[in-house]
């Protein structure tokens, strides 16, 4: 069975600030990031759909210890956003100094920025054709 919405397509759109996902014909719920089967009911009866990119922060962390090759990024803020359509999407919060981020951001509304930051990839991940041009990072700003 062919994959309805691949990482390659999702990634290409996200780099331009468009968030793609899947809408289930059986339960009407959304899946994002995409998968073979509906996140909610497991159906493969899915259509590609564009999501609004708005939601609220459910949790977060500010990271101070980098992975190999990512020293220049720290500190940075990772947020988990509950999108208005239901799915959770992990991204970066870019319009607040990471050193000022506290629990107060939980519940705040955010919106996907017009362009996403991109991770070029590294020795372990750069070979894949699906990630040509790098990995888009969902990049959120306060709404």
């Amino acid at each position: 069975m062919e994959y309805k919405l691949t990482f390659k397509e999702f990634n290409k759109a996200l780099k331009k600030g468009r968030l793609l996902g899947l809408k289930c014909r059986d339960c009407d719920k959304f899946t994002c990031p995409p998968k073979m089967a509906c996140q909610e009911c497991g159906s493969t009866n899915l259509d590609t759909a564009e999501l609004g990119g708005s939601g609220k922060i459910v949790t977060f962390t500010v990271s101070y210890v980098p992975s190999e090759g990512r020293d220049a990024e720290v500190p940075y803020t990772i947020v988990m956003v509950e999108l208005d359509e239901g799915p959770w999407l992990m991204g970066n919060l870019t319009d607040m100094d990471p050193n000022r981020v506290t629990m107060d951001i939980v519940g705040r509304r955010v919106q996907l920025g017009s362009r996403s930051k991109v991770l070029p990839g590294d020795a372990y991940s750069i070979g894949g054709k699906e990630a040509e041009g790098g990995f888009a990072r969902p990049t959120f700003i306060f709404a």
């Binding site: 990271s63 090759g69 629990m103």
Partner: protein, 391 residues
């Protein structure tokens, strides 16, 4: 299905960067397990080895085959299990199934890792390979980052103020270090205070250094045998009476349950049901405390505390030796160390030794008959084993 017993155990010290190779470390643990079982390497009918990152730490893939050859168990089927930090629990679970089924009578299972050798940047990178590489790693997710997000979620979802949660988390680490002092195989053998924990440097908010387990090198192994075979070998068999395993997707896919790890609840129910026991029947538990918050979350899903109240086990001293449910009195991953491919086998080793009454007196729990292990790999592999005194 036949009954299956642990008849031999081996465990190297867990350490900072080792001067031994993965094959050497595993062979040491394996030979100790085989010698204790009163068998010979040639009696091993199969070898199951947990190993995650040998490809990166030593440029060594397929370590299982070299381990079999190294100990003189020539040409036996040898299989590597990769389930991130739960790898060797998966290896032991499968070894159990093959012996229980009657296909084999004796299987050697365990695991090895040399993660400390890699140094922090490469180890952080390769551990993060057990997250979703396309959808969650690019934003900068690392292992402490994952549990840091669960900690903030725990605080907001259960209404436990962050300051109180951090104090509970500190108590988890303080207890682990207190017991690690007495464990001869532990990586850290020093006590810490709540103040040490709360003033250590920030790794991923709200997790500070002492909320995090170390990178470690080491190996552990066990010999499993059928009941009939075990009777010929030992008068003190420890039976595996329950097993469970489950899986789950990336963190965003776990939205309906987080900060609970649903896979743990599915897995441990399998193990409890198979053994015919309930959480209150467990005398000792070794659970997956890769981070202090992980202990609190695990204790709840294993049935030892209500959701949102796991930290009270440590506040009230219920997780200590002599408490209601002694947890990680080995020092846990935090103090004993966490060579990821070996961790599950190390937990089984600890529980077997507790049941036999063979651990250091300062951390021996009296009268242990039933023990539980709990191992979490990445964000999605869960494996539980119930062990019971067989004499």
């Amino acid at each position: 299905m036949r009954k299956v017993a642990v008849v031999g155990t081996g465990h190297t010290p867990f350490t900072f960067a080792s001067e031994k190779s993965s094959v050497e470390l595993f062979s040491e643990a394996a030979m100790d397990a085989i010698n204790e079982s009163n068998l010979k390497p040639k009696d091993m009918q199969a070898l199951y080895v947990g190993n995650v990152l040998g490809d990166f730490s030593e440029g060594q893939a397929m370590v299982q085959s070299y381990c079999a050859d190294d100990i003189g168990a020539f040409h036996i089927p040898a299989t590597r299990f990769e389930g991130a930090c739960a790898s060797s629990t998966l290896a032991i679970r499968d070894a159990f199934i093959w012996v229980a089924s009657g296909f084999y009578d004796v299987v050697l299972a365990g695991g090895v890792e040399t993660a400390a050798k890699m140094g922090t940047p490469l180890a952080t990178r390769t551990f993060a390979m057990a997250h979703d590489s396309h959808y969650e790693y690019p934003v900068g997710l690392t292992f402490p980052g994952f549990f840091a997000m669960l900690a903030h979620l725990y605080s907001s979802k259960y209404g436990v103020p962050l300051q109180r949660l951090k104090e509970q988390m500190a108590l988890v680490s303080v207890q682990s270090h207190r017991y690690g002092v007495h464990n001869r195989v532990a990586q850290f053998r020093k006590e810490i205070t709540v103040e040490d924990a709360l003033t250590s440097f920030m790794v991923c908010s709200p997790l500070q250094l002492y909320d995090c387990c170390p990178f470690s090198d080491g190996a552990a192994a066990v010999v499993l045998a059928s009941e009939e075979k075990a009777k010929q070998l030992t008068d003190r068999p420890v039976f595996i009476t329950g097993i469970g395993q489950s899986s789950s997707g990336k963190l965003s896919s776990q939205k309906d349950y987080a900060p609970r790890i649903r896979a743990r609840e599915v897995s441990v129910k399998q193990a409890y049901d198979m053994a015919g026991i309930k959480p209150e029947d467990v005398d000792i538990c070794e659970l997956h405390d890769c981070f202090s918050i992980a202990s609190i979350i695990a204790a709840e899903s294993l049935g030892f505390a209500e959701y949102g109240k796991g930290g009270e086990l440590w506040e009230k001293g219920e997780a200590k030796v002599g408490g209601r449910i002694p947890i990680n009195v080995s020092g846990g991953l935090k103090s004993k160390g966490h060579p990821i491919g070996a961790t599950g086998a190390s937990q089984v080793y600890e529980v077997v030794h507790q049941i036999r009454g063979q651990v250091e007196p300062e951390r021996q729990v009296e009268g242990v008959k039933i023990g539980l292990t709990d191992t979490l790999g990445g964000d999605g592999v869960l494996c539980n084993i119930v062990l019971q005194k067989g004499w």
